[in-house]
């Protein structure tokens, strides 16, 4: 599944600060954001098929129109201290170059325009694995949203598997 990543995620009006577009979603207590151009579709699914010989953060695989798609559990991968969501009812199917994978979610917040001035420095209590994949963070409606660099996420996951 290829995703057209040539569309600019930023917008700028002369004389104003650059804005970035983010697709925001929640998984339990956490909120994440990814570039909307990387989102292929939102799938209504509640279960992935487990695959043996894989790390615990790989929840399994699903079939999307015949294509086998791995499902990542960001909660497990980032080793977050909060409780895992029990209301997961959909997956965000994302594409990074030729690779496609799905991420669990229990609520889609929507596409948000974020001004550069809203971006905050990383919190000191973030886990190492989250810090490595963070391209920024901002607050919306009182909730901290973590902007995930999907390319970096894939690189880090490969590094983790090799270390097993």
């Amino acid at each position: 599944m290829m995703v057209d990543e040539q569309i600019d995620d930023t917008s700028k009006t002369p004389g104003t600060e650059p804005n970035r577009l983010y697709f925001v979603f929640r998984d339990g207590h956490e909120a994440y954001a990814v570039p909307p151009t990387s989102v292929v579709e939102v799938i209504t699914k509640t279960k992935a098929t487990p695959v043996p010989f894989t790390p615990d953060w790989l929840d399994g695989v699903i079939s999307v129109r015949g294509a086998i798609v791995p499902v990542l559990d960001l909660f497990r991968y980032f080793r977050l201290p909060s409780k895992i969501s029990t209301r997961r009812n959909r997956m965000i199917l994302v594409g990074v170059g030729p690779n496609a994978f799905a991420i669990w979610s229990d609520q889609i917040v929507g596409v948000e325009t974020v001004e550069e001035s809203r971006m905050e420095p990383p919190l000191s209590n973030l886990t190492d694995s989250l810090l490595k994949c963070l391209s920024g963070q901002f607050r919306t409606e009182g909730i901290m949203v973590y902007c995930i660099d999907l390319q970096k996420l894939l690189e880090e996951t490969r590094g983790q598997v090799k270390a097993l």
Binding site: T49, P50, P52, F53, V61, S63, P70, L154, R158
Partner: protein, 151 residues
């Protein structure tokens, strides 16, 4: 990516089986036969039977299961039996095996899953027992202590 060969689905005869929460398959041509749980390998007197029987539940890091069947493969060092929970009642089925996506291939270690089949919304991994044998047998012999009888 330009120049990259895309692996296509291929048809094969498969046997479905279960180990705990996993519903899996194995290509029929890759195994010798399926035996009961009390299978013992055809080995010489100097060989230890228990080293040739592998509990798949232990390989997959599951709690001990009530294994009922043994999938037997032939290896250069002799027969090896992998105890699983059950074999599908359908016995042998003919299906297309989808290749493992390159991204997922990098996350499977050891690379003992060689493809998937989609069966009524469920995705079933195809296990290569020879790769399981190569990856695990050297550092994880059978979980049955010496002298323990098979059920």
């Amino acid at each position: 990516m330009a120049g990259e060969t895309v692996e296509k689905p291929r048809k094969s005869f498969l046997i479905l089986f279960r180990v705990g929460e996993y519903r899996l398959a194995v290509e029929a041509f890759s195994i010798q036969y399926i035996a009961g749980v009390n299978w013992t390998p055809q080995v010489g007197a100097e060989e230890e039977d228990h080293d040739r029987i592998v509990e798949m539940a232990a390989v997959l890091r599951l709690p001990p299961q009530e294994g009922k069947r043994t999938i037997v493969i032939d290896t250069p060092s002799g027969q090896r039996g992998f105890v699983v929970d059950s074999i599908s009642n359908e016995e042998i089925i003919l299906r297309f095996i989808e290749p493992v996506p390159p991204l997922l291939e990098g996350w499977i270690k050891p690379t003992a899953i060689t493809g998937f089949l989609v069966e009524q919304e469920a995705v079933i991994g195809v296990v290569d027992f020879h790769r399981v044998d190569q990856a695990y047998f050297g550092r994880m012999p059978s979980v049955r202590p010496k002298g323990e009888q098979a059920r």
